[in-house]
């Protein structure tokens, strides 16, 4: 049997080239999930189904699909069934923009939902505005989307970072203390969230002992935690999300820092708590929606419907975002009896969500001035285990969206409608 022997063709340069290719690994776009049919009204969803936000994006999709089924079962939109086309932004701005263009130009979608990543959401909002397509940002939180960069055609379902900060800072200050140290993910979402928290703390008369900016995708937080503990704050606020949040909390608990400093934050998600071992499910946070609420109409059916489609997994805030985004379109289009983006965008101003969609106690509506959904903050504490294996958060208070949102005048939003 002949044996083939390769020569040593690799030198330092090849390795370097390879290393460069490895960094591309994280931004390359691998695959597309698409659902095609022959139905006439097409809506497009762009979300990061691969990469660090894959789990939350997947849940948005589950919610969106459930909404599509429900809408079609009730006669669709203007008597036509709707079809959901799904594209993977791969957590990359360029890919997200390209996929959005493809959905609008080639697939002729009349509505866009997405993206989880604030940076991508902002970028694709440029595209939808240019193409005059109604767009609901399902899960990107950075303020400017419904703030200084707000657009006539763009609405948002999830909270702004300022709303998140406003929902918990007073509580953290009164309960945990006035010296705060931050761990902040170094991109749009983290920066605006930090600014909002810092501004509130300043108003309350507290001090900031430091802010550790961590690159998105940081796995080892030990160096930042060493610095944070040396600063000796009362509260350590964790602003990262997704796997960064999981890594950070896991290390904090292993280091025993939670026994010396209060650990808390603003936005927390069921996806993250479920990825953590029980001992690391700690701290005061806000959830943007929670599946366990006392006496909320239609909630039980929604949870049961989602469980049927997910092998028994409960809906998360993300499932509700996807669900609400798609239902918003059908509701407003059926009410206005048109698919015209500008008419629909105008009709959505101060549009209130009905009980079977809002699934929470307070009034929930899209604010006319900045197109932000006034949705509640579920403030409470993470718990190692509850009455159900997925009941990992104890909700103490459900604060209405218009109590946490700053007035429209403070958002910096000025809507420019097309002539």
């Amino acid at each position: 049997m002949a044996t083939t022997v390769a020569h040593h063709l690799f030198d330092r340069r090849t390795v370097l080239k390879g290393a460069a290719a490895a960094s591309a690994l994280q931004v390359a776009s691998p695959f597309i999930i698409a659902a095609r049919g022959e139905t006439p009204i097409r809506i497009g969803m762009v979300d990061p189904f691969t990469g660090v936000y894959a789990a939350v994006a997947q849940n948005e999709l589950i919610g969106a699909k459930l909404a599509v089924e429900q809408i079609n079962a009730k006669g669709g939109v203007l008597g036509r069934p709707i079809e959901l086309l799904v594209e993977d932004s791969a957590n990359d701005v360029g890919t997200g923009v390209q996929k959005t263009r493809k959905l609008i130009e080639r697939d002729q979608v009349s509505f866009i939902v997405g993206d989880v990543n604030s940076g991508i959401a902002q970028a694709i909002a440029q595209v939808t505005a240019e193409k005059k397509v109604l767009h609901v940002v399902s899960g990107g939180h950075t303020d400017s989307i419904t703030g200084k960069d707000c657009k006539w055609n763009v609405y948002r379902v999830c909270n702004t970072t300022r709303m998140e900060a406003n929902s918990v800072t007073d509580l953290l200050f009164s309960k945990y203390g006035k010296k705060w140290h931050f761990i902040t993910p170094d991109y749009a979402f983290g920066h605006t969230l930090y600014d909002a928290c810092a501004a509130n703390l300043k108003k309350l008369g507290g001090t900031i002992t430091g802010n550790e900016l961590t690159p998105l995708g940081t796995s080892d937080f030990s160096a930042y935690l060493i610095k944070a503990r040396a600063a000796n704050p009362d509260v350590l606020l964790l602003l990262p999300q997704g796997s960064d949040m999981v890594n950070c909390l896991k290390q904090i608990v292993q280091f025993g820092i939670n026994k010396q400093i209060h650990v808390a934050g603003t936005q927390q998600e069921l996806e993250s708590l479920e990825s953590l071992p029980p001992e690391a499910r700690i701290g005061i946070w806000m959830f943007e929606w929670y599946w366990k609420q006392p006496n909320t109409p239609h909630l039980a059916e929604f949870v049961a419907d989602v469980r049927k489609r997910t092998n028994g997994k409960v809906p998360t805030a993300r499932t509700w975002f996807g669900f609400t985004s798609v239902h918003t379109y059908a509701l407003v289009a059926n009410r206005e009896k048109t698919l015209d983006a500008q008419k629909l965008a105008q009709a959505l101003g101060d549009f209130e969500l009905p009980p079977e969609i809002k699934l929470q106690p307070n009034k929930v509506y899209y604010r006319k001035g900045d197109h932000q959904l006034m949705t509640s903050a579920f403030v409470g504490e993470a718990q190692s285990k509850g009455s159900d294996p997925e009941d990992l958060f104890q909700v103490n208070e459900i604060v209405a969206g218009d109590k946490t949102a700053p007035p429209v005048a403070d958002t910096g939003c000025t809507l420019q409608w097309p002539a």
């Binding site: 390879g18 690994l25 550790e212 990825s275």
Partner: protein, 289 residues
């Protein structure tokens, strides 16, 4: 400040040992088979998920023993079916193959285990800091360092004193001659690949105890491992060891003085080393020491 420095240097060394484990596996495969294994991070993920799956039955310690060899078996199959046919070709083929494989593994794990991260619990006595002062030195992290030291020692002994090790080293220098002397080069490469993947699997089990286990976790450690190899010098395992520790310390120190640069510092270090010593710190073409 001095305390912060000492803490971060120590902490950097701990992080560095982890990079070493990954980088050694990569280095072994690169040195003998000329394969830049982009799927190495993927094998780390496979190791972690296998450990997660079998932990309920065999416990953490059982998983630590069983998951890495199982990962190596998968690695062996991959080498046999996909990589072996490419040995005679331009190395770019295997580079592209493993690059694609990395995506397949990531999506494969997402398909099998779901996109959401999985909680891995480590034995309680390891999940505690040794002292209030040195809170960042937990039992688990010390255990990790001990495992890495043990494995590195074992690997070096294997390469120096066993027939397989001597053949691997000889093959690194001149595979054609080794083949001409009657050594089955195919088996040699397969075994060498399996050892490399075993190290990735072991890294995966160890990482799952400390980090969140999710399909993308391999990507984050792949780059530092490549940099460790380049800084240490391609071809030198001792260099890889040194490179891993060095970038660990460098990123630890950067976190103190210039936190935003804690990731970039690795690349800066690589650039500086390459400018001063283009072959890396201990690099000698084709030499494994």
């Amino acid at each position: 400040m001095t305390q912060l420095l000492v803490f971060n240097i120590t902490n950097g060394l701990i992080i560095g040992t982890f990079y070493v484990l990954m980088a050694l596996g990569l280095s072994l495969i690169l040195n003998l088979s000329n394969v830049i294994n982009f799927a190495h991070g993927g094998f780390l993920v496979i190791g972690g998920y296998i450990a997660y799956t079998i932990t309920p039955y065999v416990g953490f310690w059982g998983a630590l023993l069983i998951a890495p060899p199982l990962t190596a078996v998968i690695g062996l199959a991959v080498e046999r079916v996909l990589i072996r046919p490419l040995y005679g070709r331009d190395p770019l083929y295997s580079l592209l193959l493993t690059f694609g494989l990395a995506f397949i593994i990531e999506d494969g794990t997402r398909f099998i285990w779901g996109a959401q991260g999985k909680p891995v619990t480590i034995p309680a006595f390891l999940a505690q800091p040794l002292s209030y002062e040195f809170f960042f030195i937990t039992g688990y992290r010390l255990f990790m360092v001990a495992v890495v030291l043990f494995i590195v020692a074992l690997l070096f002994l294997l390469l120096r004193y066993t027939r397989l090790g001597i053949r691997i080293r000889a093959g690194t220098l001149d595979l054609e001659t080794v083949s001409a002397l009657g050594v089955n080069v195919r088996t040699l490469r397969s075994l060498n690949f399996a050892v490399g993947i075993y190290l990735a699997g072991l890294s995966g089990v160890l990482a799952a105890g400390q980090l969140g286990l999710e399909p993308t976790m391999g990507a984050g450690v792949l780059m530092p491992s490549f940099i460790a190899i380049i800084v240490g010098g391609v071809g030198s395992l001792t260099g890889t060891l040194l490179g891993g520790l060095l970038i660990g310390v460098a990123s630890g120190l950067a976190a103190v003085f210039l936190p935003a640069a804690s990731e970039a510092i690795m690349y800066v270090l690589m650039a500086v080393v390459l400018l001063i010593r283009p072959r890396g710190l201990l690099g000698e073409e084709g030499m494994m020491t």
